[in-house]
Amino acid sequence: MFGIGVLKGMAVTFKNFVESYYKKERLTTIEYPEKRLAEKERFRNFPFLIFDEKPEDPRCVACDICAKECPPQCITIVRAQDAQGKPLKKPATFDIDYSICMNCGVCEEVCPFDAIFMDHEFELAEYGRFEDLNYTIDRLLKPKEHFMKIRPTDATRIEAELKKKENAKKAAAEKAAAAAKAKAEAAKTQASQVPDTKPETKPNEPAQPADPPAEAK
């Protein structure tokens, strides 16, 4: 009979239509402002700067590598100076223009000090462009706990690496201090063995300030 096929098809459509209102696997809509998808750890959106203890001394040392590598050139860094005009290892201004940034993550990859990372924040719509979307350092700085919260795997790895590096540095300093001390003592004994015209002079005075860490050990 003509039309049976159409009716069958409409029955399937009607079944699906009704099911889409109560079957749990058919309710796919995420009702966004109230509910959200679970955040993926590797999701990256916009960069932020990290600080360890105080926002006054961020990890960033203003080396300008990220600004040079940034493909759309959206980072502007000015290095801080002390009263004598000597450059400090700290940014005076650090601006990222979010209206240009293309979320590539190159800044995070090239940063040798693990100071800049990609954030998960995406609710960034603003009314103004130049005034609201240019992020200055006070809006970019976030504590390292925030990084640990959003990306625990990467954060633990990077923290461990940093700690290892710091320990190695400390060990090297101690070793150098010990070597300097040994050298100084050797020189002293040598000086005492050879009765010279000036027996009071200490030949290795500059090695003295390196001693305290070795003694602390």
Binding site: T28, T29, I30, E31, Y32, P33, R36, L37, N45, F46, P71, P72, Q73, T76, V78, R79, A80, Q81, D82, A83, A92, T93, D97, Y98, S99, I100, C101, M102, N103, C104, F122, E123, L124, A125, E126, Y127, G128, R129, F130, D132, L133
Partner: protein, 213 residues
């Protein structure tokens, strides 16, 4: 002469009490804005990859229809909102401005993605417009490359908040003699002419960066 008390001055506690009994008390303006914000019809046009995210927003997962903005109109005459989703090339910019001119008042613009706000990664290129706000006024800027569908919904909510705060007595589009026709740029030998519309955009003064001691 005494005026009837403004309805918005009604005690909020009384207002919520009435709302429980099914009586909504509001200013005419609030009703009007509620109607407008709940039926923002976007124009169906996308320029580049951000349009893919715009399409994803319209699909079942995020469902922009929950905000009353799901009816993508194919004609600028029937749309309230232009979502400039994607790279605006210099060849396309005159058409974007023309479409904006053809939209009826009140009209709104969301620039979606880095390219349409500022040119993004192509801002140094010869063929890409450095931001559509050089020719038409933009209401909401939505950074990202591309923004997530949720980010577009957030931008739409920002636009709804803006509409909520508009005063119908002071709106520009009910005033007499309003001419919101923006000049359509033409493709000259060295890019677009004029390079920007001075009514809506002025070049930013370069800020002298001083290093604090």
């Amino acid at each position: 002469m005494t005026h009837a008390p403004n309805v918005s001055q009604v005690d909020p506690a009384l207002k919520s009490e009435l709302a429980k009994k099914g009586i909504a008390v509001m200013k005419l303006q609030e009703l009007y804005n509620w109607g407008r914000r709940s039926s923002i019809w976007p124009m169906q046009f996308g320029l580049a990859c951000c349009a893919i995210e715009m399409i994803a927003t319209a699909c079942a997962r995020y469902d922009i229809d929950r905000f009353g903005a799901g009816l993508f109109r194919a004609s600028p005459r029937q749309s309230d909102l232009m979502i400039v989703a994607g790279t605006v090339t210099k060849k396309m910019a005159p058409q974007v401005v023309r479409l904006y001119n053809q939209m009826p008042e009140p009209k709104y613009v969301i620039t979606m993605g880095a390219c349409s706000i500022s040119g993004g990664p192509f801002k140094e290129g010869y063929n890409v417009l450095k931001g559509i706000d050089r020719y038409i006024p933009v209401d909401v800027h939505l950074p990202g490359c591309p923004p997530r569908p949720e980010a577009l919904l957030h931008g739409l909510m920002k636009l709804q908040a803006k509409i909520d705060h508009q005063d119908i007595e002071k709106t520009e589009w009910y005033q007499k003699g309003l001419k919101r026709e923006f000049p359509i740029p033409e493709f000259g030998p060295n890019g677009l002419l004029p390079p920007y519309n001075p009514e809506v955009w002025q070049p930013q003064k370069r800020k002298e960066i001083t290093v604090p001691a």
